[in-house]
Subunit: 263 residues, 4 copies
């Protein structure tokens, strides 16, 4: 018999009738913490401050769904169409979240961290650092992750995320750098190439002290919600084995509405 | 060229610079709705009332993680140990959420709905219906889903979930039936076989008007958080290709603590 | 520490410098058995006779690929298009092999076994049994799995598979029943509804003594080959994140050719 | 409506009643080509010569299974234990085939190709090139992929694969280099660090003209067979949700035997 090694986990402790996530009783969290706070707790090891809680919540809400065209939604629907159970549809969708879809957050986090570190190390202010970086990227023909979008010329999620970060005192150096970078880029290009939601999430996560290795975690956790909705809708509304042509889909859900209670 | 059919989706509408989930602008949701509310919105098509919001939040928090022994956590760690990227680890974990792990919610929902419907149809009160049901289950040797747990003799998550449901006015007939059923079962067996978290979630979701087909959705959405945490920890703390012996893992995370701000 | 139970596996024994699959040294199999034989050995526990070997080979070759339209091929390409590694593309494709795609073999095996058993039990010859079965299916409006195809009016793989089975003495009762059933069906419907490759594989596997639980095994093992080819081609020939419209694909591979050496 | 682009595939052409893989009618392949040949055809675009056919067959047979300890087998069994359908078990297993498990073939191919190219470019014979390479790897403390095994001190699959390659005239420069490299390594280390099956497959695939991007393809196609066997056995022999302790498994399959008919 092989003698397998002792090992440790810092996530959850299980005792009979007592489950603790990162030290907190899960039944206490069930009434006393939001789902977004619990995500933060699970990934970070501590509960967020009220301000950070709002930012994390906004990040998670921002990426829940983006309609039927993203490859992850198509993958989930394609699997559902063959009769796959819900978990297999979701798994199939998650497998389509990679470098070119959802993966830009990680690259953008690495980019922002590297550039802000460089500016700090050479005592250059972020505005100048951004200008120099734009020039460098252009001369090296590097494609910067997190800017531009195939549909949105000004991604409403990015603006809102920065607003929430700002209001809660979490608009730090990385957000600041991204703002200067966008401005420098616009001056250089002669047109605005706005920051997309991946870029905005990346800047915000950097300022919250996250490292790039959990970048995709937020996108995956958030988008799983949309994958469940698409899998479920495909199963209920469509016949099996249909040809799923994303360009022929029309929205027929609830009419435009606003959150009324101000919450 | 095949003429693929027109089709519809009621989930998300995408216009340049305007993304609406079930009618709501996603940037408005980012500041004005919790992640749990947004999950409810995505699955149900409308925002929850404040009371329902609390129940849904408690359901999602309850199932975030249960340590290293569940097959889904082992699957995620096993994949991580071979060098899989985060999304493949999560997908592998999700593929281990089936009938025998996480799948009890669906069976329990069907059971509670059937029994409560039966009681209604024959105008039997829920207490008597539960007694009759226990007798029937015993004579037919049917194993009822949602009761008993291999570790917890009184699952703290179940009690808390019913408490939240009760406080918010969402403790309806299905929760009531589950309470009577547990009492009848204890009388018959001569010992308490408490309702587990799957059973409690099932009763609560029935009372919220959900149908069994989305039962697993909540578990999957919630547990993905734990799967991310395990995948990430495995990658950071352990060497590749180790033998993962679940019985040799010790918790070494934060010490027991309480939520202090009463939030 | 939990005392986990001893358990057994009858598949492969591993000793230093000696690997035995179902008793055979794998290095001996490497020169002395075909890949198809080894598949049979792994699933069945013994090497096939030369005749059975030919049938199993034909089954495995028959389902290697069916172009870009099957959901499993689309799933693999969709994942590849997002930058997924090869194994994730294949996994995504495999997750799209379900009840409505590739899953007909299992249903058809159950159908053929039940009907042949019924005929045996009541000493009815297979021709009469088939007629009665067609009548019963029509009156009960049961859809019989394994007959008809959305593209092929006479699936060339079915004819060839029966030919190989016949030539090698493996055309047994289940194949025979399927032949009578097709004939009865044609008389009843007034038009031929030919057996498709799933139906033919099902009949042949029944006659080889396989049980329905491994029905999908053959399809999965075989189709993985095509999934690899599609994933690889997508990565090499197409740009990431393109819209994959199956109806706009044209074949541009090798021109029609024949196996020349009569092998 | 988006105008999706025309595209091409060189794998399979589908016409009513005519399916051609890389130009060959699939029903002709069903009788006239082995499954291993068809794998080669699908990946390479042409049928192999008889000699290459034997090598490809040996490669595919070599990796079919390696018992219950590899992460891919554990993943498949873990999923099966939760009640997952066969395809989800296989997908879960495939997701555990990565850099540290099954992935060494790709690294070893890149290594052998680079070193042989370097030797050619500088007109150094392969024996001297291997000596220089060993010295360089040691001074740079580079871990060379494809050598050494946690269980086998002399992997029987490697020896057999080289034997088949040699007998069929396919033992080329890359195999030759690997032989010299092993010898140089033994001289330097003072002990033999034999080439493992991944290394041998890598050398052989290089000599057959494959590029590293399909390296994993062979392992995945081959190992799927074992994953099916493990998933199936787990479902038939074990109770759901058991603790799967790989160190407590004993082989109880067929007794050691030999291929008798000389086939």
């Amino acid at each position: 018999m092989t003698d397998s090694a002792r090992w440790h986990s810092a996530i959850t402790s299980i005792q009979p009738n007592e489950i603790r996530l990162r030290g907190y009783r899960i039944d206490q969290l069930m009434g006393g913490a939001s789902f977004a706070d619990t995500v933060y707790l699970a990934l970070r090891g501590e509960l967020p401050s009220p301000g950070v809680s709002k930012v994390v919540n906004a990040v998670l809400v921002s990426s829940v769904d983006h309609g039927v065209t993203p490859p992850s939604a198509l993958a989930a629907r394609n699997a559902a169409s063959t009769g796959a159970p819900l978990n297999a549809c979701v798994a199939s969708g998650v497998l389509a979240i990679n470098r070119y879809h959802g993966g830009a957050v990680e690259g953008a986090m690495e980019f922002f961290m590297r550039e802000v570190d460089r500016a700090m190390a050479s005592s250059v202010n972020l505005s100048d650092a951004a200008s120099q970086c734009v020039a460098r990227c252009r001369s090296e023909k590097v494609r910067v992750p997190g800017f531009g979008h195939r549909i949105h010329t000004d991604d409403p999620r990015s603006a809102k995320l920065f607003e929430v970060a700002s209001e809660t005192g979490n608009f730090g150096e990385h957000c600041e750098f991204s703002r200067h970078f966008r401005a420098s880029l616009a001056r250089e290009l002669g047109r605005d190439l706005p920051i997309n939601v991946d870029g905005a999430i990346a800047a915000v996560l950097c300022d919250l002290g996250f490292t790039p290795d959990v970048a995709n975690a937020f996108f995956v956790i958030s988008r799983v919600v949309g994958l469940v909705a698409h899998s479920s809708e495909e199963r209920k509304r469509e016949r099996p084995m249909r040809t799923i042509d994303q360009s022929r889909c029309t929205y027929d859900g609830p009419a435009p509405c606003d959150i009324t209670n101000g919450e």
